[in-house]
Amino acid sequence: STPAKGAGGPEFVYITDAPIGVNQFLELGRTGTRDAAAALGGTSRTFESNDTDQSRRSNIEAAVAARPKAIVLITFEFDDLSVEYAEAHPDQQFVLIDSCPDGTVPANLRCGVFKEYEASYLLGVEAGLLTRSDRVGTVAAIDIPFFHRWSNSFALGARSVNPKVSDRQLFVGGDNPVGDPARAKELALTVAQAGADQVFAVTGGGNGGVFEAAKETGALAYGVDVNQCPQAPGSIVDNAIKRIDVVVKDLLTSIVQGRPGGTSTAYGLAEQGSTVTSLTEDAAGSQCAIMKHPEILARVREARDKIVSGEIVVPDPVKAG
């Protein structure tokens, strides 16, 4: 992916932590970086890592050697590396999306993180209102705090509108946690057998399996990152999505404009950095099941407004430990 070089404008390198594949999230990072670069009159390149520490390192090394205006990194896999390389190359600007290292952020690093938990909370509100069995569940990839941003907040949102709701959270784990649809399906069926009729799918490439299970058992599913409703129209209610394009553009502009770095910015419902499909301008054509329930959508908007205004504070499970 080498767009014509030598345009003279600023150059940006986007480095993923893993192959982009159908990972819509990483793909969004690529298009986001490209669009932001174009908006700033520059160009962008993408280096895909292959899910190993070594490949991430050699991609950063190669990027640093090319001396671009900024290097955009994505996901928590770069927590340590971003600090290490930012400190080793003080003249090079870095951006880290979707995560931020603990401690002080070096001056040449800017973080942009999402409040997925706010969007997940809204999905929970939908689930709490839709459930007939008063049981909801999440199938997530790995049992780490990061994934609890979705699972815990989903349960929280459901309980906020229906206190009787009980919650199940299962994790794929295994050899291929974000790409094992068969296992993800098995887990979703297990959740469904345990009585849950609302299942939140946070398993990356495994989501397809969860949707299959939803179709088979008649449960309703919830997707992440992008609009996944077309994959199983009628079975998928809504999605918690991240607007990476918004965040990347924001941070790259800040670099080009020479504003001070060392910052960490969180993008939630208020910043429109994370949201749900039904609240975006594409909602009408989304094929999401929620669109048939305007009364529920009204409750969702209400909750969104309360979060934005600070009336409701959704806790960040990562901060909670």
Partner: protein
């Protein structure tokens, strides 16, 4: 040429590599790429400048793990448990480095020792099961990888998790307890080398990019050769690998040789795990060590190098260069780096076919 060079760079290997280059070139041409420039990119990306540093950085642990496997394979024992021993060692080393008080060097040494011990204990289970329950080491060593990974994963989650990080990992290891570069850029030797050879010279890059893990693995190499050629138990392992019945008939204590070689191999794998943690990750990350793919590469290397230590070095470097070169290719051309996996697989496949030998020996 020395014996090892001949062994590794035998005609068969050269033919296999050449044929692979041709096959992949055809594949590239068919998909509209210029093979010459793709190969040039791979070579430049893995054998020069930062690429060479990356290659060497990978070679060190791969060779270390290969040497670990050499011990059991030479004794005719298929030890597929390298990955588990590697992870256990890394975890034990990290815990030691995080908790033990004392001066940096001492703690580093202690971490390596604890890693060796923990991984050796883990590696002792398969021979024990074989001696007492007739369970083949091949099976049990492979099986034990999964509990090893699950155990360390759970340990991180339940007790060791860094509360401030979104990584599923331990806290970061203090700077003084890390294994640093051979010549850090700011340090005295680092500046001296940079002044002498220039700041961008290959030597400067390599000495600043490679850590003191390199001499540790070099010492392991020397140790391996010493055990193989100069210790009675090394000779016994060799015979055991060639013909176990002969070993039993000439008074070799087979169980002991197997046990000792599994223990040594496990200890080495553990040390390598700790080396990666202390010199590169600076913390134990859940999935961080098994995710490197080093253990799998090492298994390939030991099979191809037929358990010869120098074969491990040459083949280890070759495979590391392929992996790093594959990434350079991907960056430059957007070609899937899986092409480099295909290349690796083809080389192994073709080497094994021994194309230089006649097809039908009757």
């Amino acid at each position: 040429m020395t014996r090892w060079a001949r062994a590794v760079l035998s005609e068969g290997t050269v033919v296999a590599v050449t044929l692979t280059v041709v096959i992949v070139a055809v594949l590239l041409l068919a998909t509209g790429y210029d093979p010459v420039s793709v190969y040039a990119t791979m070579a430049a990306g893995s054998l020069t400048g930062a690429g060479l540093v990356s290659t060497l950085q990978q070679t060190v642990p791969v060779v270390g793990l290969t040497l670990a496997l050499c011990f059991s394979f030479r004794a005719g024992v298929f030890n597929l448990g390298g990955e588990g021993q590697f992870v256990i060692g890394g975890c034990a080393g990290a815990i030691t480095a995080l908790t033990l008080p004392g001066p940096g060097l001492v703690v580093i040494a202690a971490s390596l020792a604890v890693a060796a011990l923990a991984a050796a204990l883990w590696a002792a289970i398969p021979p024990l099961l074989q001696e007492h329950l007739d369970a083949p080491i091949f099976v049990t060593s492979l099986l034990l990888n999964y509990p090893a990974i699950a155990m360390t994963s759970y340990a991180v989650k339940a007790w060791l998790k860094d509360p401030d990080s979104s990584l599923m990992a331990t806290r970061r290891i203090d700077g003084s307890r890390r294994i640093g570069p051979l010549a850090a850029p700011g340090s005295g030797p680092g500046r001296a080398i940079a002044d002498l050879f220039g700041p961008d010279s290959t030597l400067t890059l390599v000495t600043s990019g490679l850590s003191w893990s390199l001499p540790v693995v070099a010492a392991i190499l020397a140790f391996t050769i010493f055990v193989n050629t100069r210790l009675p138990i090394g000779l016994e392992a060799h015979v055991l690998g060639l013909n176990p019945r002969l070993a039993r008939h000439t008074g070799v204590n087979v169980a002991r040789v197997v046990r000792v070689h599994m223990l040594i191999g496990g200890a080495i794998a553990g040390v390598v795990g700790a080396l990666v943690v202390l010199s590169s990750h600076y913390r134990f990350i859940d999935g961080g060590l098994d995710g490197t793919g080093y253990a799998v590469t090492a298994l390939l290397v030991v099979l191809l190098g037929r358990s010869r230590p120098w074969g491990a070095v040459v083949a280890g470097f070759f495979f590391s260069a392929l992996i790093v070169g594959g990434q350079a290719m991907e960056r430059e051309y957007g070609l899937s780096s899986y092409l480099s996996i295909i290349i690796q697989a083809l080389v192994i496949f073709l080497v094994t076919l021994r194309l230089t030998r006649a097809w039908r020996t009757r």
